[in-house]
Symmetry: C2
Subunit: 545 residues, 2 copies
């Protein structure tokens, strides 16, 4: 039995292009001998469409596209993800997260997702009504279970037992020979390995092969990594499709020899690939072809530039380095060295004249008050202003370069270095930034070693170093992991052996800076708990704990 | 039977202060002769706590606060909103949206919310597991139905039939003499009248009095307006508590004469009061005591200043008017006249020097390219930079002054006039801005009439007027209402008789500017569909319809 997996990159809401992409993948699988082809979840729509579904013509257009697609399908069935309507007068949400079994020019079956994730980045109960029955599809004498993403996630693989239904058990009770899963499972560090364990376990417990077809591509903050899987009835992985790339492959779950997919994984390499794909898709799906960014001589902007050049090519990336009187000579030299290494252009635009003019204008209002953080922020905001001017003049999307550690504690200037349409590495803690930069330099110097080795500095006052204000990054990142990702209380973190003053300082800084993150550019999610749509804190609140 | 309604303003996550507030209200009701006291939904917590509930100590602290509160309650019961835990190994969400019946120092009953809104600004299925049974509480020979907010909202009052449960019907089937509802129902235009119709209808159909206690106060984007209600068994409104203010009142639903609450409503006045309360709570609950803003001489900044002065007092509001070479003399004069009318301070800070310095710095990079929108944005961003400098130097929260119409079509500069911690009137369409400004001037000139009467202009190039770029505001707002709030397609709007080019231009501008709104300051919601947490559009998408 030859199954084609169409691991494709859909664009949210672009029905004509998604139909074209699905048909091309279907035909490629046919040529490779597929007897059945499967796409990712909501492949026709792009995941997640969010509130677009409420637009009056969105789901009707989706259903038209499905009808057209059905007309193009012959004897080899295509199982494709789409959005269906729920009956307007029956209680519940207006839509269904659905899969259609297309065959011989018609829609032979419609399958509805049963388990609707409503946590972290997922909001499916906002839109969809769950399916109520799980029935196998009869096909060529086989009994095929069709499931959608969360339907096969077991209690052990979730944060807690969320559901009182178990679609795999319901299908198994009715008897199946094969389990299909259409998925849109976003990447975070460790997720590909977690999925392999999950799919192997499901196959073993249901005693049938599992065909798991995942999305690939970036949509806003989410990066889908592909890594589609085929497991045999014993739970052995028979095939894993590539990560971070569109691919079609035809696999016989009963005949393909087992594979060892786990060897290829390097955390830094996976993070880097996810960011390259996320950046490329964000920029190009938005209709831009080029970007700009500020180069400070520091590691964050250097890594962001390297990712951008990898994603879009060196011609598409333009840097500005904007020295002030407080800048070290290294900041310009290292920026120009980076630009040379990457083959991108970089202009030097000093900020001194604008800084003096802004200070002069505000002097009567400030009436002799001493300089303070206000003047530090002015410098960052003048740089933001220059970069946005470049972005406007040359129609380049501005990339902002802050990392997760500084975004967490607000060690960044809103409307200054936070300016930009995409926050490329804002989900990478600083320690990971170094790790990925070193990985990138594993064969040759991409990022100047001086940038990696010098102590980090914002250079907004004389001889400033990050560690004048912040705890050492190893400590900061460890505490942030406990406070932000694991959501432990300060007392619990202190009990683990961390310094009380440091922990309480970090807690206060994280909470007080929620308002800045509210106005931050979207960031590419690569950890299990990113700032952004998966973490929804009130700004006005007074909880301490 | 005398019921005390404690219409209070809770702060999210501030358990000690909320306990104090609830006890003070309870005792005030006791003194007024209450035999039973009821609070709003989640009164102990503040609504909505959002992802704070996932912090390891949040719900435990809530339960401790509830125990303490119970210890303070005597023979007169208190029915109070809080968050309960759901069993950790049973399927479902980890928490319950709950009400506790406190009496004689103990928790006599726990009631769980059955219908969990998960649409618009609500995300309750992300956090809460619904209750499974609805049982009346027996009290002094009475059978009392206790419900929480959505539990009593009927299908007709929602956008569609969402639920397959009906708590009021379930309680009625078991027999009740009285229905209590703890609510946190946010304001939007028309909501108070809608609630009166709803509560009257529920009372009539259940044939019992309904005591409806609503929250008051601002939490992030939501403004709770109070307007708590008591209806008799015939559906007549016997009492309506004031809007936009904390109040305790004791009402006998069987004895109080009927009241006509609908007479007092004026849309402009309600919008204004909601914005004053929302601004005051946002600023003070964040720990600020003063604000600053830019005054352009235009109507948006003038109305924002008037709201701020009303909310915080004239001493707490500092304006900057920042003329350029393109500014009319009126822009400074009207700003200073406004400041005089309001009794607030206003400094004049010209931007010319900084504008020239920025242009000079970028000249080598721009290499002779002609001036365009880049230079318009530079001016707006220099103003934003000045205002943020004032905010930083004097620790004032910066208010941003854009209206809903310009935010919709992106007629605003990100990191420029969009700078600020709160977007006060960003949910007021421009036509409503005029309406509220005229209402404010109904007795004396608060906003200079010249500001109201002159044609609106951004003054970023010579003789610029808004209507050079935008359709007339009446047309723009009418189309935006159909496109953004009603989510109609362009074709449907054109079929209603609007000009095709105008409709398509607006559709394109709204969709293309999603990225700007993603980085916008939180805005106070006063319409049924605001930008912000209740409208979640992808940025990267290509749907046209």
């Amino acid at each position: 039995m030859k199954i084609g997996l169409a691991q494709i990159n859909s664009v949210v809401g672009d029905f004509p292009a998604n139909v074209k992409r699905i048909l091309a993948a279907y035909r490629e699988c046919l040529e490779a001998g597929a007897e059945l082809v499967i796409t990712p979840e909501l492949a026709l729509v792009g995941y997640p469409p969010r509130d677009l579904v409420f637009k009056s013509r969105f789901v009707p257009q989706c259903l038209q596209a499905l009808d057209y697609l059905a007309g193009e399908i012959g004897a080899v069935p295509l199982v494709v993800g789409y959005i269906d309507v729920h009956h307007p007068t029956r209680p519940g949400k207006p839509f269904r997260n659905a899969a259609a079994w297309l065959e011989h020019g018609t829609i032979r079956h419609r399958i509805w997702k049963t388990l609707l994730p409503t946590y972290d980045v997922f909001d499916e109960r906002r839109y969809f009504e769950p399916g109520t029955t799980c029935e196998p599809v009869l096909w060529n004498g086989w009994r095929v279970g069709v499931t959608i993403c969360e339907d096969i996630w077991t209690d052990e693989s979730l944060q807690r037992p969320f559901y009182d239904r178990d679609p795999v058990a319901e299908l198994s009770a009715r008897g199946i020979d094969l389990l299909l899963n259409l998925s849109a499972s976003p990447f975070h560090l460790g997720k590909p390995a977690q999925r392999r364990a999950l799919i192997g376990g499901v196959a073993r417990s249901a005693r049938v092969p599992v065909i798991y077809c995942n999305s690939v591509g970036g949509n806003d903050q989410l990066v889908f990594d592909g890594h589609s899987l085929v497991a045999d009835a014993g739970g052995c992985i028979r095939a894993q499709l590539p990560g971070f790339a569109e691919t079609c492959r035809v696999v016989d779950p009963f005949a393909t020899p087992a594979t060892d997919a786990s060897a290829e994984e390097d955390p830094a390499g996976q993070l880097y690939q996810a960011l390259v794909l996320g950046l490329r898709d964000y920029v190009t799906k938005c209709g831009f072809s080029s970007v700009c960014l500020g180069l400070s001589g520091g590691i964050d902007s250097a890594l962001t530039a390297a990712i951008a050049v990898d994603a879009l090519g060196p011609q598409a990336v333009h840097g500005l380095t904007m020295p002030s009187g407080y800048s070290s000579s290294g900041s310009v030299d290292d920026s120009l060295a980076l630009a040379r290494n990457l083959g991108m252009s970089c202009d030097v635009v000093p900020i001194g004249g604008a800084f003096e003019a802004v200070k002069a204008a505000m002097r009567p209002v400030f009436a002799g008050k001493p300089e303070d953080v206000t003047e530090e922020n002015m410098q960052a905001r003048i740089r933001g202003l220059f970069l946005m001017a470049l972005s406007n003049k040359e129609n380049r999307l501005l990339l902002t370069t802050g990392n997760k550690s500084e975004l967490a504690v607000g060690y960044c200037t809103i409307y200054g270095d936070m300016c930009g349409g995409l926050a490329v590495i804002s989900d990478l803690p600083k320690v990971r930034v170094y790790e990925v930069a070193r990985w990138l330099n594993r064969e040759r110097e991409v990022i100047p070693w001086n940038t990696i080795d010098k102590p980090p500095s914002a250079e907004l006052r004389p001889d400033q170093k990050d560690q004048d204000t912040l705890p050492p990054y190893e400590t900061l990142d460890a505490i942030l992991e406990l406070y932000v990702e694991q959501q432990l209380s300060t007392d619990e973190i202190i009990d683990l052996g961390f310094d009380e003053n440091t922990v309480r300082w970090i807690q206060r800084r994280v909470d007080l800076n929620e308002w800045k993150r509210h106005q931050a550019a979207p960031g590419l999610r690569v950890t299990s708990k990113a700032f952004g749509i998966g973490r929804r804190m009130p700004i006005v609140q007074r909880f301490v704990g």
